[in-house]
Symmetry: C2
Subunit: 111 residues, 2 copies
């Protein structure tokens, strides 16, 4: 579940759009309604709702409707999953570089 490839597709796809990243950025400072998310964006409310649906489908954002206002929150576990995928690959690469450095240092010592 933590490593579902299609979930990663959805999360990275969601983060690939600047409007959606701006929404996530806003939500990182606290919950917000749809209108509050829309306010700084130069597009229709309808477009914002569609972006929000993408974010919700990706698992990055969770929403709850009370009365007529829908309140949105970040889902930190999803952010952590995306972060983790990248981090593992970067660390694998860097560990490989370290081993290579050790090897070169050793073979130099034997000269």
């Amino acid at each position: 579940m933590l490593h579902d490839p299609t979930q990663l597709d959805l999360m990275f796809q969601a983060l690939a759009d600047p409007a959606r990243r701006q929404m996530v950025d806003r939500l990182s400072r606290g919950p917000a309604s749809v209108s509050q998310l829309a306010e700084p964006l130069a597009m229709s409310l309808s477009a914002v709702v569609q972006h929000l649906n993408v974010l919700e489908a990706s698992g990055l954002v969770r929403t709850e409707k009370l009365g007529r206002v829908r309140t949105c929150q970040i889902e930190p576990q999803a952010l952590r999953a995306a972060e983790h995928w990248i981090n593992e690959r970067r660390l694998a690469w860097e560990r490989r570089l370290d081993r290579l450095g050790d090897f070169l240092a050793e073979t130099n010592d034997e000269s």
Copy 2:
């Protein structure tokens, strides 16, 4: 340069495709040629080259051609930039939750 929004667009877009993530995963274990990247993928070599161009344009991968073989490497700085963007938002959210927890604990002490 580290926080160029269009660079983040390109990086997250690049990571949104499972074939491209598989290529990055392969490269995290060491450099590879185009054919080596293509080998586990069920698509034409031409398609792989197109994916590779996306990865290169995003800055996640750097390539160098020697003779007729193009060798590909991960660019860890780019991975770090994507990782960092996510991490900052997640930490902002979690710090906020901590402050909220502290506040609730304090107001409870005053009962």
